[in-house]
Protein backbone atom coordinates (compact mmCIF):
# COMPACT_ATOMS: atom_id res chain seq x y z
CA UNK A 1 0.00 0.00 0.00
CA UNK A 2 2.62 2.62 0.92
CA UNK A 3 4.43 1.70 -2.28
CA UNK A 4 1.28 2.35 -4.29
CA UNK A 5 0.82 5.70 -2.63
CA UNK A 6 4.40 6.58 -3.42
CA UNK A 7 3.90 5.62 -7.06
CA UNK A 8 0.75 7.70 -7.23
CA UNK A 9 2.56 10.71 -5.83
CA UNK A 10 5.38 10.38 -8.34
CA UNK A 11 2.87 10.13 -11.16
CA UNK A 12 1.08 13.29 -10.07
CA UNK A 13 4.30 15.25 -9.77
CA UNK A 14 5.50 14.21 -13.20
CA UNK A 15 2.21 14.94 -14.91
CA UNK A 16 3.14 18.60 -14.67
CA UNK A 17 5.89 18.10 -17.24
CA UNK A 18 3.75 16.28 -19.81
CA UNK A 19 2.37 19.28 -21.58
CA UNK A 20 5.75 20.56 -22.69
CA UNK A 21 6.66 17.39 -24.51
CA UNK A 22 4.69 17.60 -27.78
CA UNK A 23 6.77 20.68 -28.56
CA UNK A 24 9.89 18.53 -28.69
CA UNK A 25 8.42 16.53 -31.56
CA UNK A 26 6.80 19.29 -33.55
CA UNK A 27 9.27 22.09 -32.80
CA UNK A 28 12.19 20.71 -34.75
CA UNK A 29 10.01 19.94 -37.74
CA UNK A 30 8.52 23.41 -38.07
CA UNK A 31 11.89 25.10 -37.96
CA UNK A 32 13.51 23.01 -40.68
CA UNK A 33 10.66 22.27 -43.11
CA UNK A 34 10.71 25.42 -45.19
CA UNK A 35 14.34 25.95 -46.23
CA UNK A 36 15.72 22.45 -46.39
CA UNK A 37 15.16 19.29 -48.39
CA UNK A 38 12.57 16.63 -47.71
CA UNK A 39 15.17 14.29 -46.27
CA UNK A 40 16.26 16.93 -43.78
CA UNK A 41 12.66 17.44 -42.74
CA UNK A 42 12.23 13.72 -42.21
CA UNK A 43 15.49 13.56 -40.28
CA UNK A 44 14.42 16.47 -38.08
CA UNK A 45 11.03 14.89 -37.45
CA UNK A 46 12.66 11.55 -36.69
CA UNK A 47 15.23 13.21 -34.44
CA UNK A 48 12.46 14.97 -32.53
CA UNK A 49 10.66 11.71 -31.98
CA UNK A 50 13.92 9.98 -31.08
CA UNK A 51 14.61 12.65 -28.50
CA UNK A 52 11.10 12.29 -27.17
CA UNK A 53 11.62 8.51 -26.93
CA UNK A 54 14.92 8.95 -25.09
CA UNK A 55 13.19 11.22 -22.58
CA UNK A 56 10.46 8.62 -22.18
CA UNK A 57 13.03 5.93 -21.55
CA UNK A 58 14.73 8.06 -18.93
CA UNK A 59 11.37 8.82 -17.35
CA UNK A 60 8.58 6.46 -18.46
CA UNK A 61 6.04 8.44 -16.45
CA UNK A 62 6.47 11.40 -18.78
CA UNK A 63 4.50 9.61 -21.52
CA UNK A 64 1.04 11.21 -21.53
CA UNK A 65 -0.38 7.73 -22.17
CA UNK A 66 0.45 6.88 -18.56
CA UNK A 67 -2.58 8.94 -17.57
CA UNK A 68 -4.69 6.36 -19.37
CA UNK A 69 -2.82 3.50 -17.73
CA UNK A 70 -3.78 5.07 -14.39
CA UNK A 71 -7.32 5.71 -15.47
CA UNK A 72 -7.63 2.21 -16.94
CA UNK A 73 -6.40 0.68 -13.70
CA UNK A 74 -8.95 2.65 -11.71
CA UNK A 75 -11.70 1.68 -14.16
CA UNK A 76 -10.68 -1.97 -13.86
CA UNK A 77 -10.70 -2.01 -10.06
CA UNK A 78 -13.74 0.15 -9.35
CA UNK A 79 -17.20 -1.42 -9.08
CA UNK A 80 -19.07 -0.07 -12.10
CA UNK A 81 -22.05 -0.65 -14.38
CA UNK A 82 -25.62 -1.72 -13.58
CA UNK A 83 -24.26 -4.71 -11.62
CA UNK A 84 -21.80 -2.50 -9.69
CA UNK A 85 -18.88 -4.91 -9.86
CA UNK A 86 -15.23 -4.40 -10.75
CA UNK A 87 -13.47 -6.22 -13.59
CA UNK A 88 -11.55 -8.37 -11.12
CA UNK A 89 -13.60 -11.33 -12.34
CA UNK A 90 -12.70 -10.67 -15.97
CA UNK A 91 -10.75 -13.52 -17.55
CA UNK A 92 -8.27 -12.22 -20.13
CA UNK A 93 -7.10 -15.75 -20.85
CA UNK A 94 -4.96 -16.48 -17.81
CA UNK A 95 -7.79 -16.85 -15.31
CA UNK A 96 -10.27 -14.40 -13.72
CA UNK A 97 -8.57 -11.23 -12.53
CA UNK A 98 -5.13 -12.10 -13.93
CA UNK A 99 -4.00 -9.04 -15.87
CA UNK A 100 -0.22 -9.49 -15.70
CA UNK A 101 1.07 -11.16 -18.84
CA UNK A 102 -2.38 -11.61 -20.40
CA UNK A 103 -1.83 -9.07 -23.19
CA UNK A 104 1.25 -10.96 -24.43
CA UNK A 105 -0.97 -13.89 -25.48
CA UNK A 106 -3.81 -11.91 -27.04
CA UNK A 107 -5.70 -12.31 -29.30
CA UNK A 108 -6.79 -15.77 -28.17
CA UNK A 109 -9.77 -18.11 -28.23
CA UNK A 110 -12.24 -17.82 -25.35
CA UNK A 111 -14.50 -20.80 -24.65
CA UNK A 112 -17.28 -18.75 -23.04
CA UNK A 113 -17.61 -16.50 -26.11
CA UNK A 114 -16.65 -19.28 -28.56
CA UNK A 115 -14.55 -16.88 -30.57
CA UNK A 116 -11.13 -15.28 -30.83
CA UNK A 117 -10.85 -11.92 -29.05
CA UNK A 118 -8.22 -9.23 -28.69
CA UNK A 119 -7.87 -6.97 -25.64
CA UNK A 120 -10.60 -4.53 -26.70
CA UNK A 121 -13.09 -7.24 -27.69
CA UNK A 122 -12.51 -9.06 -24.40
CA UNK A 123 -12.89 -5.89 -22.34
CA UNK A 124 -16.23 -5.18 -24.04
CA UNK A 125 -17.29 -8.77 -23.33
CA UNK A 126 -16.44 -8.41 -19.62
CA UNK A 127 -18.09 -4.99 -19.35
CA UNK A 128 -21.25 -6.50 -20.82
CA UNK A 129 -21.33 -9.88 -19.08
CA UNK A 130 -19.88 -8.94 -15.69
CA UNK A 131 -20.79 -5.31 -15.21
CA UNK A 132 -24.06 -5.31 -17.16
CA UNK A 133 -23.21 -2.51 -19.58
CA UNK A 134 -25.26 -2.48 -22.76
CA UNK A 135 -23.17 -3.84 -25.61
CA UNK A 136 -24.69 -1.61 -28.31
CA UNK A 137 -23.95 1.51 -26.25
CA UNK A 138 -20.33 0.43 -25.74
CA UNK A 139 -19.84 -0.12 -29.47
CA UNK A 140 -21.41 3.14 -30.60
CA UNK A 141 -18.71 5.76 -31.30
CA UNK A 142 -16.06 3.87 -29.35
CA UNK A 143 -13.15 6.11 -30.38
CA UNK A 144 -12.37 9.71 -29.46
CA UNK A 145 -12.12 12.45 -32.07
CA UNK A 146 -8.80 14.30 -32.47
CA UNK A 147 -7.77 16.09 -29.29
CA UNK A 148 -10.37 14.32 -27.18
CA UNK A 149 -9.65 11.90 -24.38
CA UNK A 150 -9.42 8.18 -25.00
CA UNK A 151 -12.66 6.46 -24.00
CA UNK A 152 -12.99 3.92 -21.20
CA UNK A 153 -12.41 0.85 -23.39
CA UNK A 154 -9.22 2.42 -24.71
CA UNK A 155 -7.97 3.33 -21.23
CA UNK A 156 -8.72 -0.19 -19.99
CA UNK A 157 -6.87 -1.72 -22.96
CA UNK A 158 -3.91 0.60 -22.29
CA UNK A 159 -3.76 -0.57 -18.69
CA UNK A 160 -4.03 -4.21 -19.75
CA UNK A 161 -1.20 -3.79 -22.30
CA UNK A 162 0.98 -1.97 -19.76
CA UNK A 163 0.69 -4.91 -17.39
CA UNK A 164 2.54 -7.06 -19.97
CA UNK A 165 5.31 -4.55 -20.50
CA UNK A 166 8.72 -6.10 -21.07
CA UNK A 167 7.21 -9.44 -22.07
CA UNK A 168 7.39 -10.84 -25.57
CA UNK A 169 4.44 -11.08 -27.94
CA UNK A 170 3.63 -14.79 -27.85
CA UNK A 171 0.24 -15.72 -29.33
CA UNK A 172 -0.64 -19.29 -28.30
CA UNK A 173 -2.33 -20.37 -31.56
CA UNK A 174 -3.40 -23.71 -30.03
CA UNK A 175 -7.07 -23.60 -30.91
CA UNK A 176 -8.25 -24.18 -34.51
CA UNK A 177 -10.16 -20.88 -34.36
CA UNK A 178 -6.93 -19.07 -33.45
CA UNK A 179 -5.25 -20.64 -36.47
CA UNK A 180 -8.20 -19.64 -38.62
CA UNK A 181 -8.04 -16.05 -37.29
CA UNK A 182 -4.37 -15.88 -38.27
CA UNK A 183 -5.05 -17.16 -41.79
CA UNK A 184 -8.01 -14.81 -42.13
CA UNK A 185 -5.93 -11.87 -40.89
CA UNK A 186 -3.20 -12.61 -43.41
CA UNK A 187 -5.72 -12.87 -46.26
CA UNK A 188 -7.37 -9.63 -45.15
CA UNK A 189 -4.00 -7.89 -45.05
CA UNK A 190 -3.79 -8.43 -48.81
CA UNK A 191 -7.51 -7.88 -49.54
CA UNK A 192 -8.03 -4.89 -51.81
CA UNK A 193 -11.25 -2.96 -51.48
CA UNK A 194 -13.04 0.36 -51.39
CA UNK A 195 -13.01 3.15 -53.99
CA UNK A 196 -9.20 3.43 -53.77
CA UNK A 197 -8.51 -0.31 -54.25
CA UNK A 198 -6.34 -0.20 -51.13
CA UNK A 199 -5.20 -3.15 -49.04
CA UNK A 200 -3.14 -2.97 -45.85
CA UNK A 201 -0.32 -4.31 -48.03
CA UNK A 202 -0.55 -1.29 -50.36
CA UNK A 203 1.27 0.80 -47.75
CA UNK A 204 2.68 -1.77 -45.31
CA UNK A 205 4.39 -4.48 -47.39
CA UNK A 206 7.55 -2.86 -48.75
CA UNK A 207 10.62 -1.55 -46.98
CA UNK A 208 11.52 2.13 -46.81
CA UNK A 209 8.30 3.63 -48.19
CA UNK A 210 6.49 6.70 -46.91
CA UNK A 211 3.25 8.64 -47.36
CA UNK A 212 4.21 12.29 -47.71
CA UNK A 213 6.98 12.43 -45.07
CA UNK A 214 5.55 9.74 -42.84
CA UNK A 215 7.53 6.49 -42.84
CA UNK A 216 5.53 3.28 -43.20
CA UNK A 217 6.43 0.13 -41.28
CA UNK A 218 6.37 -3.01 -43.49
CA UNK A 219 4.13 -5.06 -41.22
CA UNK A 220 4.31 -8.30 -43.17
CA UNK A 221 8.04 -8.53 -42.37
CA UNK A 222 8.76 -10.05 -38.94
CA UNK A 223 11.93 -8.02 -38.31
CA UNK A 224 10.05 -4.77 -38.88
CA UNK A 225 6.79 -5.82 -37.23
CA UNK A 226 8.68 -6.77 -34.04
CA UNK A 227 9.90 -3.19 -33.71
CA UNK A 228 6.47 -1.54 -33.76
CA UNK A 229 3.55 -3.87 -32.98
CA UNK A 230 4.43 -4.10 -29.26
CA UNK A 231 4.26 -0.29 -28.96
CA UNK A 232 0.45 -0.25 -29.23
CA UNK A 233 -1.65 1.13 -27.57
CA UNK A 234 0.33 4.31 -28.12
CA UNK A 235 0.04 8.01 -27.45
CA UNK A 236 -0.32 9.78 -30.77
CA UNK A 237 1.07 13.28 -30.60
CA UNK A 238 -0.83 14.47 -33.70
CA UNK A 239 -4.21 13.55 -32.24
CA UNK A 240 -3.39 14.11 -28.55
CA UNK A 241 -4.70 10.83 -27.24
CA UNK A 242 -3.95 7.18 -26.82
CA UNK A 243 -4.95 4.93 -29.69
CA UNK A 244 -5.39 1.21 -29.24
CA UNK A 245 -4.40 -1.19 -32.03
CA UNK A 246 -8.08 -1.49 -33.04
CA UNK A 247 -8.41 2.30 -33.17
CA UNK A 248 -5.30 2.44 -35.36
CA UNK A 249 -6.74 -0.18 -37.72
CA UNK A 250 -10.05 1.74 -37.81
CA UNK A 251 -8.05 4.83 -38.77
CA UNK A 252 -6.36 2.94 -41.62
CA UNK A 253 -9.79 1.86 -42.91
CA UNK A 254 -10.87 5.51 -42.77
CA UNK A 255 -7.95 6.40 -45.01
CA UNK A 256 -8.81 3.43 -47.23
CA UNK A 257 -12.27 5.01 -47.70
CA UNK A 258 -13.99 2.13 -45.99
CA UNK A 259 -16.94 2.63 -43.62
CA UNK A 260 -16.43 2.57 -39.84
CA UNK A 261 -15.37 -0.93 -38.81
CA UNK A 262 -17.03 -2.31 -35.66
CA UNK A 263 -14.86 -2.47 -32.54
CA UNK A 264 -14.10 -6.05 -31.53
CA UNK A 265 -15.45 -7.51 -34.76
CA UNK A 266 -13.80 -10.33 -36.69
CA UNK A 267 -11.80 -8.21 -39.17
CA UNK A 268 -9.79 -6.05 -36.71
CA UNK A 269 -9.29 -9.03 -34.39
CA UNK A 270 -8.01 -11.22 -37.25
CA UNK A 271 -5.73 -8.43 -38.51
CA UNK A 272 -4.40 -7.97 -34.98
CA UNK A 273 -3.73 -11.71 -34.79
CA UNK A 274 -1.77 -11.50 -38.04
CA UNK A 275 0.22 -8.48 -36.83
CA UNK A 276 0.98 -10.06 -33.46
CA UNK A 277 1.99 -13.38 -35.01
CA UNK A 278 4.23 -11.59 -37.52
CA UNK A 279 5.75 -9.66 -34.62
CA UNK A 280 6.05 -12.78 -32.44
CA UNK A 281 8.98 -12.49 -30.05
CA UNK A 282 8.94 -8.70 -30.24
CA UNK A 283 8.92 -6.96 -26.89
CA UNK A 284 5.84 -5.25 -25.52
CA UNK A 285 6.73 -1.64 -24.88
CA UNK A 286 3.31 -0.16 -24.31
CA UNK A 287 1.99 2.44 -24.24
CA UNK A 288 4.31 3.68 -26.97
CA UNK A 289 4.61 7.06 -28.57
CA UNK A 290 3.79 7.92 -32.18
CA UNK A 291 4.10 11.08 -34.24
Amino acid sequence: MPQQQEEGRVRRVRRATLWLLPWVVTGGLEITLAPSLAQDAIDASEKGIQRYRQMLKADPWSNPAMLDVDRGEALWKTPRGPKAVSLDGCDLGKGPGVVKGAFAELPRYFTDADRVMDAEARIVWCMEKLQGFERAALLKNPYPGGGRATKDIGALATYVAYESNGQKLMPTLDHPKEKEALALGEALFFRRGGPMDFACATCHADQGKRIRLQGLPPLSKPVEARKVVGEWPAYRVSSNHVMTMEHRIYDCFWQMRMPEVDLGSEVPVALTMYLVKTAEGGEINAPGLKR
Partner: protein, 205 residues
Protein backbone atom coordinates in the same frame (compact mmCIF):
# COMPACT_ATOMS: atom_id res chain seq x y z
CA UNK B 1 16.00 -48.60 -58.09
CA UNK B 2 16.53 -47.36 -54.51
CA UNK B 3 16.49 -43.85 -55.94
CA UNK B 4 13.12 -44.57 -57.54
CA UNK B 5 11.71 -45.77 -54.22
CA UNK B 6 13.06 -42.72 -52.46
CA UNK B 7 11.37 -40.45 -54.96
CA UNK B 8 8.14 -42.44 -54.66
CA UNK B 9 8.32 -42.18 -50.88
CA UNK B 10 8.87 -38.42 -51.00
CA UNK B 11 5.95 -38.01 -53.38
CA UNK B 12 3.76 -40.18 -51.15
CA UNK B 13 4.65 -38.12 -48.08
CA UNK B 14 4.46 -34.74 -49.74
CA UNK B 15 0.74 -34.00 -49.47
CA UNK B 16 0.61 -35.09 -45.82
CA UNK B 17 3.63 -32.99 -44.90
CA UNK B 18 2.35 -29.87 -46.61
CA UNK B 19 -1.17 -30.32 -45.23
CA UNK B 20 0.06 -30.43 -41.65
CA UNK B 21 2.09 -27.25 -42.12
CA UNK B 22 -0.71 -25.52 -43.99
CA UNK B 23 -2.93 -22.94 -42.37
CA UNK B 24 -6.70 -23.10 -42.89
CA UNK B 25 -7.72 -22.06 -46.38
CA UNK B 26 -9.42 -18.68 -46.50
CA UNK B 27 -11.33 -18.24 -49.74
CA UNK B 28 -12.94 -15.00 -50.84
CA UNK B 29 -16.36 -16.16 -49.56
CA UNK B 30 -14.94 -16.65 -46.05
CA UNK B 31 -13.35 -13.20 -46.20
CA UNK B 32 -16.60 -11.69 -47.42
CA UNK B 33 -18.49 -13.21 -44.45
CA UNK B 34 -15.99 -11.65 -42.05
CA UNK B 35 -16.25 -8.28 -43.80
CA UNK B 36 -20.07 -8.29 -43.73
CA UNK B 37 -20.08 -9.10 -40.02
CA UNK B 38 -17.46 -6.47 -39.20
CA UNK B 39 -19.19 -3.51 -40.79
CA UNK B 40 -22.71 -3.87 -39.39
CA UNK B 41 -23.18 -0.13 -38.93
CA UNK B 42 -22.36 0.85 -42.52
CA UNK B 43 -25.19 2.88 -44.10
CA UNK B 44 -26.96 1.47 -47.19
CA UNK B 45 -25.12 3.75 -49.64
CA UNK B 46 -21.79 2.43 -48.32
CA UNK B 47 -22.61 -1.25 -48.82
CA UNK B 48 -20.95 -1.44 -52.24
CA UNK B 49 -17.63 -0.58 -50.59
CA UNK B 50 -17.79 -3.86 -48.68
CA UNK B 51 -17.72 -5.97 -51.81
CA UNK B 52 -14.99 -6.50 -54.39
CA UNK B 53 -15.17 -6.38 -58.17
CA UNK B 54 -13.47 -9.11 -60.20
CA UNK B 55 -10.22 -7.18 -60.50
CA UNK B 56 -9.90 -6.53 -56.76
CA UNK B 57 -10.72 -10.16 -56.00
CA UNK B 58 -8.10 -11.46 -58.44
CA UNK B 59 -5.41 -9.02 -57.23
CA UNK B 60 -6.16 -9.98 -53.61
CA UNK B 61 -6.02 -13.68 -54.41
CA UNK B 62 -2.69 -13.42 -56.24
CA UNK B 63 -1.31 -10.71 -53.94
CA UNK B 64 -0.84 -8.42 -56.93
CA UNK B 65 1.19 -11.00 -58.85
CA UNK B 66 -1.43 -12.55 -61.12
CA UNK B 67 -0.51 -15.27 -63.62
CA UNK B 68 -0.10 -13.98 -67.16
CA UNK B 69 -3.56 -15.02 -68.37
CA UNK B 70 -5.29 -13.42 -65.40
CA UNK B 71 -3.22 -10.26 -65.88
CA UNK B 72 -4.23 -10.07 -69.54
CA UNK B 73 -7.90 -10.42 -68.60
CA UNK B 74 -7.58 -7.64 -66.03
CA UNK B 75 -5.83 -5.25 -68.41
CA UNK B 76 -8.41 -5.87 -71.15
CA UNK B 77 -11.33 -5.36 -68.75
CA UNK B 78 -9.88 -2.20 -67.20
CA UNK B 79 -8.94 -0.72 -70.58
CA UNK B 80 -12.60 -0.90 -71.57
CA UNK B 81 -13.51 1.25 -68.55
CA UNK B 82 -11.66 4.36 -69.73
CA UNK B 83 -13.80 7.24 -70.95
CA UNK B 84 -12.33 10.15 -72.89
CA UNK B 85 -13.48 13.76 -73.20
CA UNK B 86 -15.93 14.29 -76.11
CA UNK B 87 -13.66 16.85 -77.79
CA UNK B 88 -10.61 14.57 -77.49
CA UNK B 89 -8.56 17.23 -75.62
CA UNK B 90 -6.68 15.50 -72.80
CA UNK B 91 -4.83 18.49 -71.33
CA UNK B 92 -6.63 20.80 -68.91
CA UNK B 93 -5.41 23.50 -66.49
CA UNK B 94 -2.17 22.63 -64.64
CA UNK B 95 -2.92 25.15 -61.86
CA UNK B 96 -6.13 23.29 -61.02
CA UNK B 97 -4.16 20.07 -61.37
CA UNK B 98 -1.64 21.24 -58.81
CA UNK B 99 -4.39 21.81 -56.25
CA UNK B 100 -5.84 18.38 -56.96
CA UNK B 101 -2.39 16.78 -56.63
CA UNK B 102 -2.05 18.33 -53.16
CA UNK B 103 -5.52 17.44 -51.89
CA UNK B 104 -6.31 14.16 -50.17
CA UNK B 105 -9.90 15.17 -49.61
CA UNK B 106 -12.82 12.93 -50.48
CA UNK B 107 -14.38 9.56 -49.89
CA UNK B 108 -13.52 9.16 -46.19
CA UNK B 109 -16.43 8.78 -43.80
CA UNK B 110 -15.66 12.21 -42.35
CA UNK B 111 -15.93 13.79 -45.83
CA UNK B 112 -19.74 13.66 -46.07
CA UNK B 113 -21.60 15.78 -47.00
CA UNK B 114 -18.76 16.96 -49.29
CA UNK B 115 -17.27 20.34 -48.35
CA UNK B 116 -15.07 20.55 -51.43
CA UNK B 117 -14.20 18.50 -54.52
CA UNK B 118 -12.33 15.19 -54.26
CA UNK B 119 -8.56 15.44 -54.59
CA UNK B 120 -6.10 13.20 -56.41
CA UNK B 121 -3.71 13.04 -53.42
CA UNK B 122 -0.80 12.46 -55.83
CA UNK B 123 1.80 13.84 -53.41
CA UNK B 124 0.95 11.15 -50.87
CA UNK B 125 2.88 8.72 -53.10
CA UNK B 126 4.74 10.66 -55.82
CA UNK B 127 7.31 13.41 -56.08
CA UNK B 128 6.06 15.91 -58.69
CA UNK B 129 7.14 19.54 -58.52
CA UNK B 130 10.68 20.12 -57.23
CA UNK B 131 9.33 22.79 -54.92
CA UNK B 132 7.15 20.45 -52.88
CA UNK B 133 9.27 18.67 -50.31
CA UNK B 134 6.55 16.71 -48.61
CA UNK B 135 6.04 13.85 -51.02
CA UNK B 136 5.63 10.11 -50.57
CA UNK B 137 7.61 7.31 -52.14
CA UNK B 138 5.04 4.56 -52.68
CA UNK B 139 4.97 5.53 -56.36
CA UNK B 140 7.82 6.59 -58.66
CA UNK B 141 9.05 10.18 -58.83
CA UNK B 142 7.30 12.14 -61.58
CA UNK B 143 9.65 15.12 -61.41
CA UNK B 144 10.15 16.45 -64.96
CA UNK B 145 7.99 13.62 -66.27
CA UNK B 146 6.64 15.56 -69.26
CA UNK B 147 9.97 17.22 -70.05
CA UNK B 148 11.85 13.93 -70.07
CA UNK B 149 9.30 12.62 -72.57
CA UNK B 150 9.47 15.73 -74.75
CA UNK B 151 5.77 16.39 -74.01
CA UNK B 152 4.82 13.86 -76.68
CA UNK B 153 1.17 13.33 -77.56
CA UNK B 154 1.47 9.58 -77.03
CA UNK B 155 2.70 10.18 -73.50
CA UNK B 156 -0.14 12.64 -72.82
CA UNK B 157 -2.59 9.87 -73.61
CA UNK B 158 -0.57 7.34 -71.59
CA UNK B 159 -0.68 9.63 -68.56
CA UNK B 160 -4.43 10.18 -68.97
CA UNK B 161 -4.93 6.40 -69.11
CA UNK B 162 -2.70 5.79 -66.10
CA UNK B 163 -4.59 8.28 -63.95
CA UNK B 164 -8.02 7.17 -65.17
CA UNK B 165 -7.20 3.51 -64.66
CA UNK B 166 -3.62 2.36 -63.93
CA UNK B 167 -4.71 -1.26 -64.17
CA UNK B 168 -5.45 -0.72 -67.86
CA UNK B 169 -1.66 -0.55 -68.14
CA UNK B 170 -0.36 -2.79 -65.33
CA UNK B 171 -2.63 -5.46 -63.82
CA UNK B 172 -2.91 -5.11 -60.04
CA UNK B 173 -1.01 -1.80 -59.97
CA UNK B 174 -1.08 -0.28 -56.46
CA UNK B 175 -2.44 3.06 -57.63
CA UNK B 176 -6.19 3.71 -57.28
CA UNK B 177 -8.33 3.57 -60.43
CA UNK B 178 -9.21 7.22 -59.89
CA UNK B 179 -11.38 7.69 -62.98
CA UNK B 180 -12.83 4.20 -63.28
CA UNK B 181 -13.81 4.15 -59.59
CA UNK B 182 -15.47 7.56 -59.93
CA UNK B 183 -13.19 9.37 -57.49
CA UNK B 184 -12.12 11.97 -60.08
CA UNK B 185 -14.05 13.39 -63.05
CA UNK B 186 -12.78 13.54 -66.64
CA UNK B 187 -12.20 17.31 -66.20
CA UNK B 188 -10.14 16.75 -63.05
CA UNK B 189 -8.05 14.08 -64.75
CA UNK B 190 -7.36 16.48 -67.63
CA UNK B 191 -6.11 19.04 -65.10
CA UNK B 192 -3.80 16.44 -63.56
CA UNK B 193 -2.52 15.45 -67.02
CA UNK B 194 -1.71 19.14 -67.57
CA UNK B 195 0.15 19.28 -64.25
CA UNK B 196 2.35 16.35 -65.28
CA UNK B 197 2.64 17.04 -69.03
CA UNK B 198 2.56 20.85 -69.59
CA UNK B 199 5.84 22.61 -70.31
CA UNK B 200 4.83 25.53 -68.06
CA UNK B 201 3.91 23.30 -65.09
CA UNK B 202 6.28 23.41 -62.06
CA UNK B 203 6.64 19.64 -62.47
CA UNK B 204 8.68 20.32 -65.63
CA UNK B 205 10.55 23.45 -64.51
Amino acid sequence: MPAFFLVALIIALLPAASASAQSPVIDSARMQTAVKQSWTQAPPEWQTRLTQDETMAACSQYRNNPPRVVAQTIVAREKASIKYPADGKLIGDWKKGQKLAQSGYGGRFTDYPPRTENGGNCYACHQLSGGELSFGTLGPSLLEYGKSRKFSEADVKAVYDRIYNPQAVVACASMPRLGANGHLSIEQIKDLVAYVMSSDSPVNK
